[in-house]
């Protein structure tokens, strides 16, 4: 080993230790400063924490603008909103709930409301939200936000689900008149016949887009209405204790067999690129309100909105979307309610509906919306939501399991498995979960 030069020796034995010591001192100093900065004074309670899902960018921007304007109008109060990615939103809320770190105001996906109330995370909104606002809400929004008779959540918008159709292609297939009201919806026989006619005229034979590329929750949302239209349901709504006979009963099986038949005949496009309808490969698309801007841009006046087919007991459709609630960690529920009232005022509701295309949740806003008012192109969604054609997803804390079970059954049915067996398996999963949770009893007074 060569002997160190005098210079190196000097550095190693004297200057380097001094420098290291100096760095350690600097680091300690910075850490101490940091701690001082973060030692804020005890929150004066003038801050409201809000969590929202990071949806489309226009949705996010609109909400951020609402919050800014609210803060400007209320200088003594500050609302802080945190956006959380949509895909993992429910899991993150659950994790935070277990840690007891929920914010004051929480936005969440409607069907999970019952689960959160059961876990005692939300407070009832009765005395906090004005009666006129509650009466102005769409019946579907009120129904979704109610659990065991009390209101726990209010949504700024609701969702619409229907069939988008190409007028010209449907006319070519021999159907001149398109139904405009759910009471006039096609029966499943008429619809199957239409599909076969369209398939005959189509290049690859696939004429229906069922959005198979969408992730998990879509399947319960979009296809449980078929079962409800046939007279079955995801679970017996009398007590929410069992799905046996309801989800796997003859009506439900018949409805799912009809759907499986369409897939088996090659009438359904896999929609891997999510462009089956816009590129003209299919004539019909089973989709929600969010597709309207894209579809309108692609087909203009050739685009028609048609209610979902009637599988026996009348056309049924899905409903439900994001909902705002106040958590029990909020120390100023009155102020939180003020913020919710502000969000649900017509200007804010309309601005949000403009940005995400959803159905405004209040009657006053609907009357002022060019898309959704009487005579507007999307008024069908409002009709469905207010006249009882839209069915809320099961209002039980066990909803996550029901949704998962149905998704698995649907995935099996899609690959031509036996429908009865697939639905039986789903029923077994759901019933076992209800038993494991002792029937989801009320653990504490709401």
């Amino acid at each position: 080993m060569p002997r160190l030069t005098r210079y190196t020796e000097c550095v190693v034995t004297r200057i380097r230790p001094v420098c290291s010591f100096g760095l350690v001192l600097l680091f300690a100093f910075l850490v101490a400063c940091q701690r001082e900065e973060t030692a804020q004074p005890e929150s004066s309670g003038a801050t409201l924490t809000v969590w929202a899902h990071a949806g489309q960018s226009s949705e996010r921007e609109t909400l951020a603008q609402h919050v800014t304007r609210f803060n400007q109008a209320h200088p003594e109060l500050q609302v802080e909103v945190t956006f959380i990615p949509e895909r993992s939103y429910n899991a993150q809320v659950q994790a935070a709930a277990i840690a007891g770190e929920l914010p004051d105001i929480l936005e969440f996906d409607g069907p999970y409301l019952y689960n959160y109330v059961w876990q005692e995370h939300l407070i009832a909104l009765e005395g906090l939200v004005s009666a006129e606002l509650q009466n102005d809400l769409l019946p579907s929004v009120r129904a979704q936000g109610t659990y065991r008779g009390r209101l726990y959540g209010v949504g700024m918008f609701d969702s619409g689900l229907a069939l988008y159709a190409r007028r010209s292609l449907v006319r070519q297939a021999g159907v001149a008149q398109l139904p405009t009201h759910p009471a006039q919806a096609w029966t499943v026989e008429e619809f199957s016949h239409l599909l076969r006619e369209l398939g005959g005229n189509d290049a690859d034979g696939a004429v229906l887009d069922l959005k198979f590329n969408y992730p998990d929750e879509w399947f319960a949302y979009a296809f449980s209405p078929i079962i409800q239209s046939a007279g079955g349901d995801l679970i017996s709504r009398d007590g929410y204790q069992s799905a046996d006979g309801t989800l796997n009963g003859t009506q439900a099986v018949a409805a799912m067999r009809a759907l499986q038949d369409w897939i088996g005949k090659g009438l359904v496009d896999a929609n891997v690129d999510d462009a089956a309808f816009t590129s003209g490969r299919v004539a019909l698309s089973w989709a929600g309100h969010w597709e309207y801007p894209r579809y309108k841009a692609a087909w203009g006046d050739d685009l028609a909105l048609v209610p979902l087919p009637d599988f026996g007991r009348g056309s049924r459709t899905g409903q439900g979307s994001w909902v705002w609630g106040v958590t029990r960690y909020c120390r100023q529920p009155r102020v939180a309610a003020d913020f919710l009232e502000y969000l649900l005022a017509p200007e804010q509701v309309l601005a949000m509906s403009d940005s995400n295309g959803a159905v405004p949740a209040t009657g006053t806003a609907i009357q002022r919306s060019p898309l959704y008012r009487e005579g507007g192109p999307l008024h069908l969604f409002v009709v469905q939501l207010s006249e009882g054609y839209a069915v809320p997803r099961p209002q039980t804390p066990g909803y996550p399991v029901i949704s998962n079970a149905f998704r698995r059954a649907f995935a099996d049915i899609r690959t031509m498995a036996d429908v009865q067996a697939a639905l039986d398996r789903a029923v077994e999963m759901i019933d076992r979960d209800v038993r494991d949770n002792r029937g989801y009893p009320v653990v504490a007074p709401p």
Partner: protein
């Protein structure tokens, strides 16, 4: 003194591996749910009995085993072949090495999304049209990811495509460590290419190969990303895996205890497999 040096790593192992596993074992004996006001109950081995009675879980175990049995030899063999090719001295060697390694760099979820598009059903799907061209029109277009027969093989191909580069690089390093004199000696003794390969290359690569096979096996049991993105458990459980079932149970159905039981079973299985492998193929260690 030696223990003191190893202490930080040991503490890390304890905190991040041993203790969570012990917790998982304890949780698997209860009925814990994600967020439930009901009191926690001790259930004994009921959770384990349930998951073994669940058709999806037993199929998942079988799928994992099949996956490991097929992918490990295929991927290792392919990696060895590529490493041998790249061990030659030719122009563009470094370019090819980079190209073969590139799939490893991409995040697995990105790879899964792209391959979902490649496997698009119908004659216009990339894989379908490729197979049609290669088979001169004899191939009938299929929906790979929703076909009970092709779902798991499709995932196998994706995994092999992504993982081979990494194994190839390790084996290449192992090849480069083989002293040139051995090859010269073999040449002098009159050994042909096959003889050199079997009697010089493979024995010298023994330690590296054992390591590669072990790591690939363990990773094969951890299969999750591709299943989550491409097939979601596949048609009638054809492509589900233990990790996927555990995540579904714990986060989709909020049954944490069931998920914990599944991960305990997975750990035991992987431990057994690696112990068996270690027994049959001990690495040679030089003792100084």
């Amino acid at each position: 003194m030696g223990l003191l040096f190893a202490a930080p790593a040991l503490v890390g192992l304890l905190v991040f591996v041993a203790i969570p596993f012990a917790l998982a074992l304890i949780l698997a004996l209860t009925n814990l749910r994600l967020g439930s006001p009901l009191p926690l109950e001790f259930m004994g081995v009921e959770q384990f009995r349930r998951i073994f009675a669940d058709a999806a879980f037993t199929r998942a175990l079988w799928n994992n085993a099949l996956f490991a049995l097929v992918v490990v030899p295929l991927q290792t063999g392919l990696a060895l072949g590529l490493a041998l090719l790249l061990h030659q001295n030719f122009r563009g060697r470094i370019l090819f090495r980079t190209l073969f390694f590139m799939p490893v760099v991409f995040p697995l979820s990105l790879v899964a999304v792209v391959w979902t598009l490649i496997y698009a059903p119908g004659p216009s799907g990339m894989m379908n049209s490729f197979l049609t061209v290669v088979s001169f029109g004899a191939w009938e277009p299929r929906d790979f990811l929703h076909d009970p027969l092709f779902a798991l093989p499709a995932i196998m191909v994706t995994s092999i495509w992504q993982g081979t580069g990494f194994q190839m690089l390790i084996l290449l390093a192992g090849l480069q460590a083989i002293p040139e004199e051995l090859y010269e000696a073999a040449r002098i003794d009159g050994a042909g290419h096959l003889g050199t390969f079997l009697h010089v290359t493979i024995p010298q690569l023994r330690n590296t190969l054992i390591f590669v096979v072990l790591v690939t096996t363990i990773l094969a049991f951890r299969l999750f990303d591709q299943v989550q993105i491409m097939t979601q458990g596949g048609p009638r459980n054809a492509s589900t895996t233990v990790m996927f079932e555990a995540v579904q149970a714990a986060f989709s159905r909020q049954q944490v205890a069931a998920g914990a039981a599944m991960s305990v079973v997975l750990f035991v299985v992987v431990l057994a497999v690696t112990m068996v492998q270690q027994r049959f193929a001990r690495q040679e260690r030089e003792i100084q």
